[in-house]
Symmetry: none
Subunit: 218 residues, 4 copies
Amino acid sequence: MSSVKRTTDRRGAILAAAGKVFRAHGYAATTMEAVAAEAGVAKGSLYNYFRSKQDLFSQLFAEIISADEADVEQLVTEAIPADEKLQKRIDNVFAQLERYTAIGGLVLEFWATAARQQHKGEMAEMFEQMFSRWRGRISEIVSQGVESGQFRAEIDPNVAASLIVAVVDGIIVQSILDVGVDFGPEYLAGLKKGLLAALTAWADTKPPEYNQQQVPGE
Amino acid sequence: MSSVKRTTDRRGAILAAAGKVFRAHGYAATTMEAVAAEAGVAKGSLYNYFRSKQDLFSQLFAEIISADEADVEQLVTEAIPADEKLQKRIDNVFAQLERYTAIGGLVLEFWATAARQQHKGEMAEMFEQMFSRWRGRISEIVSQGVESGQFRAEIDPNVAASLIVAVVDGIIVQSILDVGVDFGPEYLAGLKKGLLAALTAWADTKPPEYNQQQVPGE
Amino acid sequence: MSSVKRTTDRRGAILAAAGKVFRAHGYAATTMEAVAAEAGVAKGSLYNYFRSKQDLFSQLFAEIISADEADVEQLVTEAIPADEKLQKRIDNVFAQLERYTAIGGLVLEFWATAARQQHKGEMAEMFEQMFSRWRGRISEIVSQGVESGQFRAEIDPNVAASLIVAVVDGIIVQSILDVGVDFGPEYLAGLKKGLLAALTAWADTKPPEYNQQQVPGE
Amino acid sequence: MSSVKRTTDRRGAILAAAGKVFRAHGYAATTMEAVAAEAGVAKGSLYNYFRSKQDLFSQLFAEIISADEADVEQLVTEAIPADEKLQKRIDNVFAQLERYTAIGGLVLEFWATAARQQHKGEMAEMFEQMFSRWRGRISEIVSQGVESGQFRAEIDPNVAASLIVAVVDGIIVQSILDVGVDFGPEYLAGLKKGLLAALTAWADTKPPEYNQQQVPGE
DNA sequence: AATGAATGAGCCTTCATTCAT
DNA sequence: CATGAATGAAGGCTCATTCAT
């Protein structure tokens, strides 16, 4: 019933091939020929489905992002305490760290090379939306926790959400760059404990004393 | 009076120009011609100082990293409490967010495009060292805090350090991607408070229940 | 009627154009652009048929050599006396002096410029084979003459063949270098007479007294 | 008395270095930098002695040719029979085959690459003169032999000389191209015997029957 | 829709030559 | 005369894109 679909799902095949090749070689070093070869089609055929290399990349990116949507959407609506929701989200990220690393690789790829030029606007928007959605969901969860009294009242859910997203992104970056961190159970436990502690406890801080430095070519 | 020798310092000029152009256009989209023009030298002159485009990029990257060294090194040895050290480091990052964003951009650039190809090994090593150093320093600070009783004893300084680095990196990434976050005083305060709370308080956590999903082209 | 298939035969056209341009300007001074222009194709098209300039040159050379094969091969098997075979071969060379000059030019070109670098081995082999074949054929003819009693028995067919090839090559070289020799009928006659005389007569010789001299840069 | 000269014989040093490098790498693949390095001077200094790369090559070539002059000049005037003179000349060539190979290599180099472009005329002239002189000297020797009755009267000294030069050139070419010939004593003996036989005997020949063939790009 | 040969703009790199010191 | 950094023209090669079949 569903197997007849495959016969001519050229677009999907190309997209999959593109994902593979872009991740392996990077945007710039990926040739349309390589994508075609991986997809098992002729070079010219690519242009029947995508206007250009840029376009292929953009659509691939959009595809990946939208696939991530449903997954997270459901979390917010579940009927469990906020702290468990957070932990569950973290667990998800770690369980799919490999997957997020792959996506993240494409993100970097994208940012670094493709986002410039013409599509800049269109792409920046995609990024912003993706992050907003993320942040929004986390923010809701934190709000729920604050309202239920689980989390401290002084907490600004938006700031907290931004920071939580930042940790996760930072972890993904470290994973992508393969920087020698062992993301084992202790790491995961440490992260969760730290996070909840930060949301339930609160500490005093000092105001900063600024100083500056130069970067070449600034 | 000390050194009127460097009448022009071509190498520095080229490096500065390269930093500017690479950051503006990305590695792949940067032409040697553009760098030369920006530096105010002839195209051929670049090759009197750098063997290739790759080499130029690598040396630029190395330059930037090494410039960051001294800056952070001193922090560890200062005679102030661990929590203040951490806050100071955070303050520094925020104060120089623009600078770190620039560096980070180059890092992404680097990872995404330049690190592949031949120099992969050499470059991966540079990355790993950079992160290790970072982590190492933070880890020392956390250790100091644990020893002095400021921070909770259960904390694993290495895990904590990794996480702290992750937050900071995540923030830098968000800054680079310009994702709509306002890194104002509240954000800074929120971060510092959360951080210290996490280090001084401690919470209970739940074990994860895993689930998986696919990425196109895997 | 037999093959309307090769509507354009790009490869052949490029090869022909390359032969023309290489001969006219030499390997180093020949640009791919010039070859493309001469062939009436776009610069990039050359690389659909030949991997590189070197490759183009090599294939051109191979083509020319192989074209020369059949021509000479038949001579050995013809049912005429050895002396006539030799004369016929000489006649052929003279009749096609222009052609051989062209080939020779490419050979010099080749030796002087292209054979260095990477393909040295592959190319040296081509040379050696070409010469061996030549020599082998002449050697056979001389052998036939010696066996039939036409030529003197003391003659070593291999040495004789080498020398005959040398004269012919020398003539081609002079023709290539355009050194002011008139290759008219008298010259041809003189060569043939001298050759046959040398093979039928035999003279006394003296042992050499050696002396040496220097070349700059040795 | 003569050793003070060396102190500043920069020109000679450069010339020697050029000979070495040109022979090793070929004209096109030789950089002025390499010549300078080999000569132990700075790149710019070359231009104090030679107008250009071409000029350097030309002067090197002229130098080598003129060095060959004296050597052969004396032979003609010696008071020995013509056949011995010829044999002596042949012996000389063989004794110095290595040297002639070196020169020949430069000749090919020159012809193949440098002779084109502007200096074509000047260079062609040098070639022609070199060959003429060669031929002239041999021609004289043959004349002497014909006059003294040693050689046959029907022989045209000019044609004979051309042919003798051709053999020698052919041998040098084979030596340069390193084509698998063993230039041992038998080869030398065979050459000398054949040569003298050709000059003292005489044979009947047949008129040629022409046929043609094509070269790609003609 | 599929194909893949053809295209040509564009880029990195080399190197002979110049010239200020 | 010596030096070597600076120059810039020139060329080989790649590859996204087009288009005739």
